[in-house]
Amino acid sequence: MDPGAPWWIWPIALFAVSFAIGIVAVLAGVGGGVLFVPIVGTLFPFHLDFVRGAGLMFALAGTLAAGPPLLRAGFASLRLMMPLALVGSIASFAGALVGLALATDLLQTLLGTLIIAIAVLIWRTRTADRGGVDADALGMLLGLEGQYLDPAAGVRIDWRTHRTLLGLGAFAAIGFIGGIFGLGAGFANVPALNLLMAAPLKVAVGSSGLLISVINSSAAWVYLQRGALLPLIVVPAILGVMLGSRIGARLLGKMPASSVRRLVIVVMLLAGLRALTQGLGVWS
């Protein structure tokens, strides 16, 4: 797009891109932030500071809107969320401070590398519903267990988690990275909850959304305090993703999810490569 275009072109284009990301992210089962930050950061004229701030609000808005139905269905667990969100939000706060202090070229390079790594992670990750793990002492103390009704199977599933300390460590690392780059980090939350802590996949996906809504609130305040939230970027982005997510949810049963997932991986690889080459000064 022409950088000299009138100002009003950009929020309209941003709304359209966010709308499309909202649809694709739901269909592919990824958080929109991993698409938003690299795509908007490389295709739009906004500085990466403002794109990361908008990325945090983008992920926050999507998860705030999705939270109530996930909680009511029992797919999001407050007991699971609270200790992990506490650790994650402290780390995210620290990550946001670090991110705003780093040089843009370094950030672009790290972002590109991270996005390519996430694309590979999404491609390679397999999920597991092991059930029946023995809770550790800390998990029992925190009451990290629950139950939900699986609508597909029509049965009530009882679950509990284990490896609580490792899980807390993982969420500290995820929160820190999310705060630096303005990502929701659902791509890492779900494997950490499902593969590491043995939460059922549906509980992992549901609780991941709720976790993002808490963790990103902490980092969002840092960006707001530093003046790194530009309303002309933030508001069209959150409106676009909200509408797009709703359309995506309606299309969920009609689209081949595996094809969409492959498309997302390709887009992430391209956007990551673009950010990486920009950061290294190879292609600016």
């Binding site: 004229p45 939270g67 069209p236």
Partner: protein
């Protein structure tokens, strides 16, 4: 399972508050944005000038435009851009509001461990929102 009934009630409570506050936050954000882009109120940085600045790092952007940092936007709500920062701040306040309500419910149930977690989370969010640790600039 003995824990299930209070858990479900807490989930429903949190969901209800999340739903209401999020919808209110979005409605206010849309309204504030329409006021901003329609030109109905003055702006700190004219919309047509923004493309000259939005490619700058935030520190240079602030220096060039004099845009508000910290909580100074609160005193400038008559300007469209500051008004929108207020609307965005409301969205960032949704989680603390829900947590505050959850804390009251947990305390009423004498679930002190979960109440302590909720209270600690509120302290972290308040520290982030205060700007005392983040600094401004």
């Amino acid at each position: 399972m003995e824990l299930e009934r209070p858990d479900r009630a807490l989930r429903e409570l949190y969901a209800r508050w999340l739903d209401r506050t999020t919808k209110a936050g979005f409605a206010i954000a849309v309204l504030a944005f329409l006021i901003y882009v329609s030109g109905a109120v003055p702006t700190l940085v004219p919309l047509a000038d923004l493309p000259r600045y939005w490619g700058m790092p935030v520190s240079r952007f602030i220096a060039a435009t004099g845009s508000p940092q910290g909580w100074t936007w609160l005193r400038l709500l008559g300007y469209g851009d500051a008004l929108n920062l207020g609307a965005v701040a409301l969205l960032a306040l949704v989680t603390p509001t829900c947590y505050a309500r959850l804390l009251l419910a947990l305390a009423a149930e004498r679930d002190w461990l979960q109440a302590a977690l909720a209270a600690a989370q509120l302290v972290v969010l308040a520290a982030a929102a205060s700007g005392l640790l983040a600094g401004a600039g």
